[in-house]
Symmetry: C2
Subunit: 214 residues, 2 copies
DNA sequence: GTCTATATCCGGATAGAC
DNA sequence: GTCTATCCGGATATAGAC
């Protein structure tokens, strides 16, 4: 009985906590960290404001939790690539999964973008540690591909920035992209077209051609 | 004497107005529209808060003025290109001037980016009017280049997005880029390298080679 | 665990003296 | 044109009843 109750309480906690995180994400996207009020998050989550403070001690804490959720999803992209991999296959997969993430979780991309634009006050650590090492590792692999003559000699770091910039653009600037393209929202076809365009341009730029299978 | 006084007053007005606009730009970058307080702008401009309200009726007005400044600078990029132009020359110049703008006025780029990310609440009109027409016109020219066999057949709209995304990335995400590259700030050399990388990748992707002279 | 009521402070905006 | 003093709504955060 005790364990049963405990389970229930834990479930409610998780359910509410999730509601709050989702609501917070939406509000932070619309108004930024400072511009977002706890009240507006509470309203969106359909909970009293005090509950938000009960689950997440304060606004900063809640924001950090939102950021952590985002970084976790980010970190799962492109885990495995090494000197023996095929560049075309890896780059294609990289572009594909980044576009997919931008499509399925644009809010995450947007919050991250705003955070960086404002000088990364809550993410300095992450960028100068994890992200820097990540780029260094991947750059080294790309360097080895170039040394092996598998692709054109292009600056690996800039190549990674280029893939980030282009894929995230469709998530972060969706308002502008959709308006200019005269669409209401993205659909699977549109995303596929964009992914193909980016893959084509970037692979060609690297002196590669599309791989057999993705 | 009267005209002399009038001139002086006008000069002071312009001087103060400029101070405020510059201070506002810096604060809006750091905290977003909603997150920025008139007090912080006043402090940065070293003027009493009431003066800000005297020069710009309210916060929205001031923000719009900042945005207009930015859009004016933006609109001067790539005024002339037509069916007879050389694609490599035009694209090179386009990338070059966008990078230059990102370098000299990163705050403008950042405020614009945040505005779009948040759904362009103050720029909907501009995007669905001016910007859409701009892209349509330039796309038509690129289409004609492709029809003339001057370059590879790539989606012109996506190509424009790609140039925007990659060049603005270095302004908007400078915190991340510099941290990853382990630099304190951009220098002329670094900007030149990046510009060369982007030009090389994008021209190659379009099946072009660098032009004789820029 | 939940929610009402409230303390405390900071926001935009303006009145009115200089 | 400039600036002090002030209004008032809304912000974060918490105390304490349930």
């Amino acid at each position: 009985m005790t364990s049963n109750k405990k389970y229930k309480v834990g479930a409610i906690r998780e359910r509410n906590s999730d509601r709050i995180l989702i609501a917070a994400e939406e509000e932070f996207v619309l108004h930024g960290f400072k511009g977002t009020s706890m009240q507006s998050i509470a309203d969106r989550a359909e909970l009293p404001k005090a509950n938000i403070h009960y689950y997440f001690k304060n606004k900063t804490n809640l924001y950090q939790a939102v950021l952590e959720n985002i970084m976790t999803a980010w970190n799962e992209v492109l885990a495995d690539m090494n000197e023996d991999s095929d560049p075309a296959t890896v780059l294609t997969k990289f572009i594909h999964s980044k576009m997919q993430l931008s499509y399925t979780n644009p809010n995450g991309s947007k919050i991250f973008a705003m955070e960086i634009i404002q000088g990364a006050p809550h993410l300095r650590e992450y960028i100068s540690q994890d992200m820097r090492i990540w780029v260094k590792e991947k750059s080294a692999v790309i360097e080895s591909w170039i040394a092996q003559g598998k692709m054109r000699a292009v600056d690996p770091t800039q190549l990674i920035f280029m893939i980030w910039a282009t894929t995230q653009h469709y998530a972060d600037f969706n308002t502008q992209v959709l308006e200019v393209m005269n669409r209401r929202e993205y659909d699977d076809d549109g995303i596929q077209n964009i992914t193909n365009f980016l893959t084509d341009m970037i692979l060609t730029g690297c002196g590669l051609t599309a791989p057999q299978a993705v």
